[in-house]
Symmetry: C2
Subunit: 147 residues, 2 copies
DNA sequence: ACTATATAGTTCGATATCGCATTACTTGCA
DNA sequence: TGCAAGTAATGCGATATCGAACTATATAGT
C-alpha cells in the first residue's frame, strides 16, 4: 500500500472532521461552501467572474452558480454585469456580506480555540507550510475538469 | 485570522484535489465513498455493523445505508443478520469485493506514481504521521453527531 | 461582414448526503 | 412478566454537487 495512499487517507479524514467542526459553528443558514466563497472574495478580492471562483475551488460551474445564488438571496454578494464581456457577470461582496463573514469567522475561531491548547503552534505552522507546498504540486497535476 | 484556520483551509483544498484525482482513477461504477468502505473493511476487518462503519467515517447512518446498498447491488459486500442483535446486520466483504478493491488500488496507485517523483518520501511520511496525530486530537473533540 | 466555433452562465435530471419519521427489536425497570 | 425507553436499519423529502443541454455573447477564419 503506497505511502501517498496513507497520506491522502489521513488528509481526507482530517478534512472530514475539521469540516464537520466548521459547519457546526457557522451561523444558521450559511453553508460551508458559502463561507468558503466569502473568504475567497476577501482573500483574493471581489469583482471576479463566477467561473473564476469555480475554477479556484475546483468545482463545477453549475455548483458555483448554485452557491452564489444562495449568497445573492441572502444579500451577501451582488452579481453585476461584466463590463468587458456581455456573457459574463462579476461577483461583488456587499457590506452585509463582509459583516456576516466577520461574525462567522468569530464563531469558528471560538470553536478552534479549544483545539489550540492541544496542538503545538510550530507544528501547525509547519504542517500548513508543507501542505501548501503539496497543494502546489497537486495543483500542477490537476485532473482535467470537464468544461 | 488564526493559524488553525489556514491549516484547515489547506487541508480542505488538498483533500479536494486528491479526492478528485482519486475518483478519476476509480473503476467505472465505484464511488469514492464505496472505495473508502472497501478499504475500511480490509483495514479493520469486516463483520461489523453499518452503524459502526458510519461512525468510523463520521457520516449519517442513512448515508452509510445508501453506500452499502450500492456495494451490495454490485456484489462487493454481503449483509448478514447480526446473531447477537435482531435489529442489526453485519457487513461482510465478498471475494469479488476483495478483488475489485485490489484492482481499484492498482489503478489509483498508478495515478499516484506520477506524483511520487515530485515529492520527498521522507516529507510525505512525516506529513502522514503528523496528520495522524492531528486526527487523534480532532477525533477526541468530535462534533456530537445528531443520532 | 459572415459564419463557424468557443465560452459564460443557467436550467434540468441524476446521485450523494443529511435530518426526520417509521418499524422492528432490545434493554431496563417496576 | 409487562411496559416504557432506547437503538438499528430504512424510507422519504430537502439540499449540494455533477454532467449534459441550452441560450446568449464573443472570437476567429475566410
Amino acid at each position: 500500500m503506497p505511502l501517498l495512499f496513507r497520506l491522502f487517507t489521513e488528509i481526507g479524514i482530517v478534512s472530514q472532521l475539521s469540516g464537520a467542526m466548521l459547519e457546526a459553528r457557522l451561523p444558521e443558514g450559511m453553508t460551508g461552501a458559502q463561507f468558503g466563497v466569502l473568504n475567497h472574495l476577501v482573500r483574493v478580492g471581489d469583482g471576479g467572474t463566477p467561473l473564476d471562483i469555480a475554477r479556484a475551488f475546483q468545482v463545477a460551474k453549475t455548483t458555483m452558480s448554485h452557491t452564489l445564488s444562495g449568497l445573492v438571496k441572502q444579500g451577501l454578494v451582488e452579481m453585476r454585469p461584466n463590463p468587458d464581456d456581455g456573457r459574463s457577470k462579476c461577483v461583488w461582496l456587499t457590506q452585509t456580506g463582509r459583516q456576516r463573514r466577520e461574525v462567522a469567522i468569530g464563531m469558528v475561531a471560538q470553536g478552534y480555540s479549544k483545539l489550540a491548547g492541544q496542538l503545538s503552534t510550530t507544528k501547525v505552522a509547519m504542517l500548513a507550510d508543507e501542505l501548501g507546498a503539496l497543494r502546489v504540486v497537486l495543483d500542477a497535476n490537476r485532473v482535467p475538469f470537464k468544461e
